[in-house]
Homo-oligomer: 352 residues x 4
């Protein structure tokens, strides 16, 4: 029997943390040996997330209690808040060269320090470490991820938006100055922090836009779309909060280059992802529902020709906690550890 990699989860008391636990408990090649949650240190996981009561798991500890030099850990998932992450990861990497890290925060996603400072309001505290980070979108950066020590797991909005746009920009099939991404997110994206805006009564039975023209994930979108297009791209991006725990839908409006049809664009995307295990492209004219990826690591993409000539409507759906966070993190772990990319990620969507 193959040995199991020893896994630590920093920040296990949040929703991305618990989603990592859900996935890793059934992953045949890993073992969760360490879980931290500073404010809940000392508690068993079953108190924090009772769905894990039937399972054997280590109790939560504080980060400070860990001696990284001696910890029997092969890979660390870091699900800590933005900002604090930098220092923690820098100290781990300094202590041990052999530990791999998949970071679910935004701290190492932006390659340009000025972008980080502008969008996150302070200088980056671990610029040297950031040089090593790879943006963990396997469909775009698989080779680099495999050999990386530090994977910056993408945000949910960028994952959902970049994947359908990337092949179109790569093939120069669309105009770069008229991209509109209208995105709708489930509430778990806001985390488990007790905030008024995440209360049931503030979210159920309604919808609203937020962070209009100013959401931090715009910076990731800009970076990756520009990288692919080979020139600066600024996409219009409007996130909306809606009453669902999980799920994300991006309705993206693009202008096909003159002479390009929706069928052309569909063909480009379908071909680009023909061998991708976690990308499913619907027949032209069909669009996905978020329900059909709930709990699964899939992204489903659909395209429709608009009534306005040259305009094409692209709809993409993910589970924000899986392909948009912890599932993709496990996918990156698989790549880093040399496992089959789909291992432990075969869950089928829970519908209804």
């Amino acid at each position: 029997m193959a040995t199991k990699a020893k896994i630590a989860i920093l920040g296990a008391s949040g929703y991305t943390g618990s989603e990592l636990v859900r996935l890793l408990l059934r992953h045949p090649r890993v073992e969760i040996v360490l879980m931290t949650a500073d404010r809940k240190a000392g508690q068993p996981m079953a108190e924090v997330f009772p769905q894990f009561a039937p399972f054997a798991l280590p109790d939560l500890v504080s980060i400070d209690s860990i001696d990284w030099k001696t910890a029997a850990v092969d890979l660390v998932f870091c699900a800590l808040p933005h900002g604090t992450t930098q220092t923690v990861i820098a100290s781990i990497m300094k202590a041990r060269a052999d530990i791999k890290i998949v970071d679910l925060s935004a701290d190492f996603r932006l390659t340009n320090p000025a972008d980080y400072a502008r969008w996150y309001g302070h200088e980056h505290h671990a610029l040297d470490v950031q040089q090593e980070a790879v943006y963990g979108l396997p469909e775009l950066h698989r080779a680099a991820i495999k050999t990386s020590r530090l994977v910056a797991n993408p945000g949910c909005y960028p994952t959902c938006s970049i994947l359908p746009l990337a092949p179109l920009l790569k093939k120069k099939a669309i105009e770069t100055d008229n991209i509109v991404v209208d995105a709708k997110s489930g509430v778990s994206g806001a985390g488990r922090a007790a905030k008024e805006g995440s209360l049931y009564c503030e979210v159920t039975e309604g919808i609203h836009a937020y962070g209009v023209a100013g959401h931090r994930h715009s910076s990731e979108l800009d970076q990756e779309l520009s990288l692919i297009a080979g020139k600066p791209v600024i996409a219009t991006f409007t996130p909306h909060l809606m009453p669902m725990s999980r799920g994300m839908l991006a309705t993206t409006y693009v202008t096909a280059k003159r002479g390009r049809t929706a069928a052309d664009l569909h063909g480009i995307i379908a071909q680009a992802y023909a061998r991708e295990p976690f990308v499913h492209v619907l027949p032209l004219g069909q669009t996905p529902q978020t329900r059909h990826v709930r709990g699964s690591n899939l992204i489903i993409i659909g395209l429709v020709q608009d009534r306005v000539p040259n305009r094409v409507i692209v709809v993409s759906a993910i589970d924000n906690l899986v392909k948009g966070a912890s599932g993709q993190a496990v996918e990156n772990m698989n790549l880093v550890l040399g496992y089959p990319e789909t291992l432990g990620l075969e869950q089928i969507a829970l519908f209804p």
Copy 2:
């Protein structure tokens, strides 16, 4: 004490029908004297909608049982399905010149018969009557509504989309060839018909686009926007179904004419609606939630300058059953009957 107008509601067993009852029961100048529901004829309203059990209401009857020549009715609300409406209304208008009609179906909204035939799949059966119809958006057509015998109450999507766009097009402040309306609707818009797609399990905790590039309300949008702009306008329009009973949000992306700022556009809209009782314009940079109009006849509009130069994001919110249907119908009734426009429509949003 003022006399009360005698009101008939055709199709009272659907959601727009019950919403009319809710509003009219508390309207000081009307009396519901007749309610029809063919499949539920003979039943008391309390069986069909138990929330009305405490109130005195006539039992439901079939339409065929009514002799319009002698019926003691001043105004008819028609909440019947598209298509059957035409014949019914034509026969009422033929039988009686003194009965006013507010029609909540789509049958008399399109002025061009070819448009009707194209979007609804058959020739219009009452073209002569249609000549009399006025498109019942009071903010645009108030004077004509007041003297009309037949008001074609607008669809929910057009109401929510046209109101923010109309002043901008009138003032030629935006480009007419790059309008994108991304709309999100509550489920009650699909009515009370027992359809798989409206089942709880098919709608809760998720979102999907539908009727992409082909929703019938596009025809109303085209008609009214073109009328205002003075030239053909085709807006990109994508409706989404989401888990809320009531409510509609339209996120509209427009390109300001060169030299125009978001502040200019905001000023145009704010000024246009400064005296409108049912339009509330938020300060520049703020956007509305559907929850804040739940159960009320208001539309709330907000504008934000995008990061993309010249692009402005406009968000508008209504309750699809009130300003998007029955509330606006009562507003039209008030105009037609010479009542104050806000009479019986002062409900404040139910939040939470």
Copy 3:
């Protein structure tokens, strides 16, 4: 035109506070002159509850900023947290004999100081004031409320449970030692405080019991049921939290005294409430839905004969924020001020 009473709302930034504002803004005989919210003092109400943006309202102030000796206020609604309420109300009553108070907290509901201390964990700090308080369930204590200076507005669970049980206990029609109340509540009952347990993701699509065998509202139930029965009654009471903003359903299991049928019990309840404006009793065999009272001040009660001989199932439904809190508070205000009891409370349920 009649003069309007001047109303203050202490704690206007919570859900019961905003519900008071919704109701009072449309009440013809009152004027909101003062609203407090300590942490949000200085803010306009439109920032705290944007649904009120279209309405003229005083800005929020801190309680300490009010000089009660000179304040032009006729009646105070107190929607403050349990505990702090006592001191505030005692100081108002000391400063001014002419101000009436309707208190929505639990502070003055329990007549026995020992009960208060046991259930709330500390001695009561205003026992003299408590002597004046009347338990504000109009159907039971109307006469006393009318002449009271201080009305202790009942909790939502007691309101929903006591009203169906009171006539049965009064007529000695049921056993007093086998009453089971299984109650289901909407989330707004937990208030607007940012607590993990009230987050959307923790509440949607599920249900759980809480405070099993130990919920504080048990003390109100015990007190009122014992008072009516003329002997000590302890009801089994299990509250459940479920995914709805508003609404409360109590399914109550009672044992009819030997010889009594469900029809007898139904008759007793129907007769007891025949003239009550806010109690609607369904025909025997029918039971209510919470949706049918959403936003209204009604309680609907239904009874069914169980298969187990002598057992009768009683189901009652209220909107926890209206009849269960702010609506009943306005009802009490009407009684205290000598207004018709239903004034401003004629809202019809919002369904769907």
Copy 4:
């Protein structure tokens, strides 16, 4: 590599059908070879349930098109409506002695033909076959299931209610004449049929009791509880419909025999299920949430001592589509086929 059993699913277009597909697609020892859905015969499963689009599955066929004598099928899941099931299963069993059947309908659950006739309104049409059926609650009838040709998979309500009560009745620890089961169910229990009562707008944000004192599952409860108690038991049983797709909570009120404490009862249940893979008993005083079993085959049980002496409150939670239907069906399949009972049923609850 072990051979895979060939599985047919009759009625694959409903929610229990799709849930079987979800589970079986990831079961290592089975292969879905046949799926029927009469009204959707000829369609690919991806049209009926788009979440299966990425998977290879046989197209849907009509039942009549199958020749059972020659069909290469080892086991049939029957997820057909009550009533029609009898004839279909009788014909399969007549055609082939070697095919095993797990029936998810109610047709073979009641051992007494008179009970069936009374609760289902017509004589049973396959009484001979019924003699062979075993009530498929593995925790109670495991041995008989293993050797059965026909397993009658229990209803969701009985599963959720019987499991906590069985050990208490077996040990004669509770009174048999004062059992009250207050149950709350998700909407998927009503199936995918397009019924007004299952529409989103009729279910969201509210709760109501239904089938009060007359739900068909009462007959299963009576049968099994009486069997265990060794004397006739009639439990009071009130089902409620609430806004969740999946999940079921039963709050059960029992009277401990004189001298028995809640701790005694807890000990009895905990000991009875100590080795059961799908039963998790919480520490005394804790109660479960439905969310913590969403998508999993677990039942979680908790007990609390009530304030009323001798009364104990028992709360149990299942996913109605898994342990309450398709998961338990797969569990029964594993028993019938001689596989490990937990094979393919290791899914961890999806929360949030």
